[in-house]
Symmetry: C2
Amino acid sequence: MTVGGDTVTEVVRLSWKDVRDRVHGRVLDGTYAPGDRLPRDEDLAEEFGCARSTVQRAMQDLSLSGIVERRRKGGTRVRRDPVTRATLDIPITRNEVENRGAVYGYRLIGLTTEAVPPPVTAKFEMAGSEEMLRVRALHLADGHPFVFEDRWVSLRTVPEILEIDLAAQSANEWLVRNKPYTRCDLRFYAMNADAETAAILETGEGAALMVIERTTWIGLDPITSVKAVTAPGYEILTRS
Amino acid sequence: MTVGGDTVTEVVRLSWKDVRDRVHGRVLDGTYAPGDRLPRDEDLAEEFGCARSTVQRAMQDLSLSGIVERRRKGGTRVRRDPVTRATLDIPITRNEVENRGAVYGYRLIGLTTEAVPPPVTAKFEMAGSEEMLRVRALHLADGHPFVFEDRWVSLRTVPEILEIDLAAQSANEWLVRNKPYTRCDLRFYAMNADAETAAILETGEGAALMVIERTTWIGLDPITSVKAVTAPGYEILTRS
């Protein structure tokens, strides 16, 4: 760039988003075809006149979106079999209700200490059973049933749960705010409402309901496993 | 570090994963509480004796996991309302079946050109209707119904689709491999099988079925919108 000379060449510094969009553009227009190896980061950095770390940041993003695959030694390739990758955020149920502009409500249905049954020990990947706190509760939106949760909480990992008034505050809210986890399994499926679930969710027996099961651990220690049965009409929507 | 001296202090270079785990550890043990502002990247870099870009990479990861929030001016904070964040990969249906160790099968059920009905124009966010290719097809796993898809393909955006033999190859496979998209909406919900869907999926009327709807665009142009109705027992599982 010559300032004061006849021509001023403007030097445009590309951001990592610019680099990402340019590389993505080349995937979209077929310059880089499925399975193709991309130029090395340093070569792209030279071509774009940016830092190598800028290219790396762009590639991380494209990799997270499922567009390219990065291997430590093998460089970067365009994914041969693209996947639709979605990021799903599951908020605290109170927030989910309030984000919809509805009034949140909560009702404790059952609170017991029980030996964990086999389907739940399997979810926790526990060798044997033990006593856990079982919390059954209903979340409401504008007074209507929204989510019915049947939850197990490890008394070994979370003994403090016994001091919480779970008639006033949901275990969902308390645990998410106070018990960060290091591992989380999520399972989504559809079920026909049985008589009890139908009664709690105020729907007909047999109604198709979406279920979200979530199991969390801190290290190897189980925290909680919850089966959240949503009311009819519940949808999960993601945009990317 | 003094080599040949009395003591040798080993200099351990922290990777971004080490930094991430240390910061995450401080969130887990409450050193950094929900809503707290974290030290600046440069201060953490100094504390950990690493490059600032290493701290940045660690923070990106913690931000993607929903543990911290980053703001350009506001620095980094521990999320006050943690969310459960899951990354969902939806592969090509053939791959999904084959990844389960089953034999993939495919049957074209219907191929027509029709004006797009209002529910589908709404998904595409189109102002009015137009003619699109409608493809109804069944994916099978070991000869059993796996996913029934009812799909609309834009003939304006993807005229080449008319040259593809959709009795031999699924539109799902062809589109995912050949038509990268820039935007994707995904919707998950449960439905009771109607008579026709029940017959196609070889289940009883009223069975609870998980539906995955996906709509894609390139720029502002619609590519495809598909309602994929899964067979009973279908589950989505993510681990993080």
